[in-house]
């Protein structure tokens, strides 16, 4: 188990446009977050060591704060940041749920031209995680395809019945 979560997608839009959607806070707030959630950007300083501080409100009204500290910015190829849960003041805090979870997650986003659009690859990798935190992350984010999916498929069928 590598302990790295990866997701990729091809978008039917030019690279500049996709890059803007990630780096213009107004655009980022429009699309970042689970379906039905609302994202507000409270602070945005797009340079290495600068940070983004955001508030996310779930469909049920639960609010969470997040902080992204930028590490590397290479227009329009690469953005790397450390992602954490935060409080309202922008201080990094533990995950707002009582299970082992890494305090910081290295987020790497790569942009590449593809036929008729832009290919984006994003990885999430726990930083300085304890064995417990890593196990929890792996179970949640990376072992779903093999481990839980079968169980959940059956459970979902059961729930529908």
């Amino acid at each position: 188990m590598s302990g790295i979560f990866e997701i990729s997608r091809s978008f039917r839009a030019a690279r500049d446009r996709v890059w803007d959607a990630w780096t213009d806070p107004e655009q980022f707030a429009v699309w970042f977050g689970p379906k039905g959630s609302k994202c507000e950007i409270k602070h945005f300083d797009f340079r290495p060591s600068g940070y983004l501080h955001s508030r996310m409100e779930g469909p049920d009204g639960t609010a969470m704060w997040a902080k992204n500290v930028y590490r590397m910015i290479e227009p329009t190829d690469l953005i790397v940041w450390e992602q954490s849960f935060a409080d309202e003041q922008g201080e990094i805090v533990a995950a707002p749920f009582p299970m082992p979870w890494p305090l910081r997650m290295l987020t790497t986003v790569k942009f590449a031209d593809t036929d008729g659009g832009t290919h984006v690859v994003l990885t999430w990798q726990p930083l300085d995680a304890s064995a417990e935190e890593m196990a929890s992350f792996t179970t949640m984010m990376t072992s779903m395809h093999g481990g839980w999916t079968g169980t959940f498929d059956q459970l979902e069928e059961f729930l529908r019945a």
Binding site: I7, M99, V120, L155
Partner: protein, 115 residues
């Protein structure tokens, strides 16, 4: 809510317990019926069942004599919804980004046509 979530996640973290849930998804079963396919002792199965019960994932069925266990659908819903939220954070965001980029392109096309 978080306590329930926590015990639920702990319960689901174990492959044997996930196997028990999968087995119960096809119908209720007694401790004896569960211990056979998993090749582990009944006391060991009972310990797993206790964890699942505490997490609100299973309950004891109707027959008082054999005490069969069955799934408790409500117990699963919160956990699966919450897990899906985190697990699908980027997949959902990418869907929304796709919508956002398509909307921007359509606006552009409209503007060009109006010129």
């Amino acid at each position: 809510m978080y306590d329930r979530l926590s015990s639920g996640l702990h319960a689901l973290a174990d492959p044997t317990r996930r196997g028990i849930l999968a087995r119960l998804a096809s119908g209720e079963a007694t401790v004896a019926e569960l211990s056979e396919p998993f090749g582990i002792s009944q006391p060991s199965i009972s310990r797993h069942l206790k964890v699942l019960e505490k997490a609100g994932l299973i309950e004891v069925g109707r027959s008082a004599q054999t005490r069969p266990r069955r799934l408790r659908p409500d117990g699963l819903r919160d956990i699966t919804a919450w897990l899906d939220g985190l697990r699908n954070l980027w997949a959902d965001s990418f869907d929304r980004l796709d919508d956002h980029l398509n909307a921007a392109r359509d606006d552009d096309n409209d503007n060009r046509e109006n010129r």
